[in-house]
Symmetry: C2
Subunit: 236 residues, 2 copies
Amino acid sequence: MKKVEVIYTPALLPLYDLKDKTVVVIDILRATSTMCVAFNTGVNKILPIASPEECLIFKDFDFIISAERNAVKVPGFDMGNSPFEYENPFLAGKNIAFTTTNGTKAIKMAKAMFPHRILIGSFLNISALAERIITLDKEVVLLCSGWKDKYNIEDTVFAGAVIHKLLEVYEMADDASFSAHSLFRQYQDNLEDLVRLSSHAKRFTSLNVQTDDVAFCLQQDIYNFVPELEGEFIVK
Amino acid sequence: MKKVEVIYTPALLPLYDLKDKTVVVIDILRATSTMCVAFNTGVNKILPIASPEECLIFKDFDFIISAERNAVKVPGFDMGNSPFEYENPFLAGKNIAFTTTNGTKAIKMAKAMFPHRILIGSFLNISALAERIITLDKEVVLLCSGWKDKYNIEDTVFAGAVIHKLLEVYEMADDASFSAHSLFRQYQDNLEDLVRLSSHAKRFTSLNVQTDDVAFCLQQDIYNFVPELEGEFIVK
């Protein structure tokens, strides 16, 4: 059987070998969920960028520029990181330069480590994601974006949910994958209750961020495509 | 309520502030369990050392020298890291210079970050540990030693077990503490089954290491003292 591993935060990436593996980047609240929404709306390409400063420059090159830091939109940018913003039909055919606190950083770090592919994972496309992983037929690393390099619940329980769909063809290769799967099995019927207990959901509440984002991002299988990194760009 | 946090591996230590907090170092298989056994046997002081090379020098200073790397005793040393070795009455009154793959490294790293106290935790003394934490009345960080900077199950489930004993006076301050506690609640009646599924227990089996070590290290409350770092030394 092929192996699946889980990395709980990008800070642990240097301990792992991603070469020739399928890497799934996970930032459930909210970057990888929001990217799926954007592609469903018809966005052409998304360019992940490390910092708001670097992202701003793409305004001069016919990109929509999107930036979130500490769960809120950065002043001076076109858009933030709420999935609802990306349902706007105006975005069809547009290209977006996108920087977020955790998710885009994880994508950039993983790309530097020569994986076979980088896939964008969310509950919104989880079954399509599992099928795509199985089709690619490589060892798999599920990379949680975490929060500023710390562990978070929502990315971990999603990693566990993906493992649950892979168990007929993949075996859990490390303790992190075992615990992620255990967390999913424990809370699979109460995912929203679990995620509302997470630090990040509490952060939303304290900031008066649109809290419907949590419920939105926990919907399963409303899309059947898997965004993927091609060169510098994420495409559908 | 005071806060309890869990750090899953020493690689994540730089993200945390330990200043004026009680830190519990956890290396269930086996360093912190074995240290408790040594003190029960009557060992005087344990000097944690980062590397075997540095540890060897203490042979010239009337120390017993102990070194484990990759779960086996390092050639040329008096002792390894199995708890059973430390039941030898010959050790009463002796001082030990001790280096292990994960546990002693975690102790040295934590000491450099100015905590209030560093306590040595294991299932063997878990209730005494919880009482000591409550008496000290500081914020608490439970530091899992992990395996070569990666997450492991046995240290995490122990962190969850400690949290379970603290919940009347401490609140979980991060997602890592929540998940550690969830893992404990899920497996509290099957701890040995869980830990036998861990990577490290499988490592023991593959190396023909004394596998009774797992069952030994999961015994609860056979000792009622808490070893603690004083200056460079761990003492009872």
